[in-house]
């Protein structure tokens, strides 16, 4: 939350009114100059990037980096016209913003750190300023104004980069959340006719739905008559979790199977009693082992130690 708040403070375009004192300068000098010096800038930028200690050759090859840089610089330079304000929300800037957004998202997915992504852009700023300094030698006022403009544009672009970078990271997190929900509800066949379902983490409505569906499906598929729900991995059982458990047990019973809840730790037992939840018509066991023993018993199975017959 706070990150977005920060970004909104520096919303691109908030500078647009403050700067346009020398609009004519850009048209005669800088744009053409930068266009002309594009190759130089690229070389300088690449040199800066390659000299940087944080260069990630493991994540991106030099050729790829160069083509990325070239694409961005071409778009940037062709957009640096006098009419363009530094307002990045304007349509003229959308190609640059789009390219930059693309780069930022790819970098977020590839696992670049924010610092490395930031340096990518800051080193471009340095290259641009360096070229400006070399070229505008006789007019300090103009140099200053142009530098300020370049600075503002690059600052705004950095903000865009970070917004996109964070969005990219958040997408990664969301995808992982989905993956976790999916992989964390396996139904295990413990024995012929006995299923086990270990639950890890908090049971919310969405997960209960997944658990119940998987379990009922598997009961039909395997023709099992006993299902063991193991809640050793559930940190706390509150009234909603209990309600979900009761529902799952009732649904299993409707399918003609018996459902045992195992893995009830001492502190969970005390909490459930204090909360006033009635689990008395559900078979509950402290450990998965005792639940399995109960299941064996009700299926009239027996596990015995083999009497070893010693042969001489």
């Amino acid at each position: 939350m706070s990150t977005f708040g920060l970004i909104q403070l520096h919303k691109p375009g908030s500078y647009s009114l403050t700067f346009n004192l020398y609009p004519s300068l850009m048209s005669i000098n800088t744009q053409q100059l930068l266009q002309k010096k594009k190759k130089n800038i690229l070389e300088l930028w690449m040199r800066n990037q390659l000299a940087d200690e944080g260069l990630r050759e493991d994540l991106i090859s030099n050729e790829e980096l160069r083509s990325q840089s070239e694409e961005l610089i071409t778009a940037l330079v062709s957009n640096l016209t006098a009419e363009n304000s530094v307002d990045l929300n304007s349509d003229e800037w959308s190609p640059v913003v789009e390219i930059l957004g693309g780069i930022a998202i790819t970098r977020a997915r590839q696992g670049f750190s924010p610092r490395e992504t930031g340096n990518f852009l800051f080193s471009l700023k340095e290259a641009l300023l360096e070229v400006l300094q070399e070229e505008i030698t006789n007019d300090p006022q103009a140099l200053f104004n142009e530098s300020i403009k370049i600075n503002r544009i690059m600052d705004n672009l950095s903000v865009v980069t970070f917004e996109t970078f964070i969005k990219g990271r958040e997408e990664v997190i969301l995808r992982q959340t989905d993956e976790i929900t999916e992989i964390s509800t396996p139904v295990i066949r413990l024995w012929d006719g006995i299923l086990a379902l270990p639950i890890i983490g908090t049971l919310d409505s969405a997960r209960t739905q997944v658990v119940m569906e998987n379990l009922l499906q598997e009961i039909v598929a395997t023709g099992s008559s006993i299902a063991i729900l193991d809640i050793s991995g559930v940190p706390a059982v509150d009234s909603l979790v209990a309600q979900h458990l009761i529902k799952t047990v009732s649904a299993t019973r409707l399918m003609g199977a018996e459902c045992i809840i195992s893995g009830i730790r001492p502190e969970i037992a005390q909490t459930v009693v204090h909360l006033g939840i009635d689990l008395s018509n559900i078979i509950t066991k402290a450990t998965l082992a005792s639940a399995l023993a109960y299941a064996f018993k009700s299926m009239r199975l027996e596990v015995r130690k083999i009497n070893t017959v010693q042969k001489f």
């Binding site: 939350m1 509150d238 309600q243 502190e267 969970i268 909490t271 204090h274 909360l275 006033g276 939840i277």
Partner: protein, 145 residues
């Protein structure tokens, strides 16, 4: 000579407020409560009770109050420490608190054990609510109470 017993002062040592607006925030909140409880050396059973109570209240806040803020405090009274949680939302409020505190009463389709259950799980429980303005619930659990 009679020594007058002073009422015990409860001092707040450490404050931390966590905004709750979606279900994932509840998991984060519970983890924070656990961290704080471990830090003051609360036993496992009391930890679980506190977290379960917090879980009930944060769920109510999300479901009926459209989210809110939870304030986590480490409090101290004399030689014993505890954790105080204050849940405040700007939801519709509760019209009849005594009805809401009754076992088995729910306006939703739940078991109706959230509020009364949470009260049984902690040492001190305080509820303030105004219709149309919101609800504030404060719970306190001593480390060894």
């Amino acid at each position: 000579m009679k020594i007058k017993k002073l009422p015990k002062m409860i001092i707040s040592l450490n404050k931390d407020s966590i905004p709750v607006s979606k279900e994932q925030d509840a998991v984060f909140l519970k983890n924070r409560v656990r961290e704080v409880a471990v830090k003051i050396k609360m036993g496992l059973v009391n930890q679980t009770r506190l977290i379960t109570a917090a879980s009930e209240l944060v769920r109510n806040m999300l479901r009926y109050g459209n989210g809110g803020i939870c304030l986590i405090e480490v409090v101290s009274s004399g030689r014993i420490n505890g954790v105080r949680l204050t849940f405040s939302d700007k939801g519709p409020g509760i019209a009849d608190i005594s009805q809401a505190m009754r076992d088995g009463f729910s306006t939703g389709k739940s078991l109706g054990l959230g509020l009364p259950g949470a009260k049984r799980l902690v040492n001190e429980f305080d509820i303030k609510s105004k219709v149309g303005e919101g609800t504030t619930i404060t719970i306190l659990k001593w480390a060894n109470g």
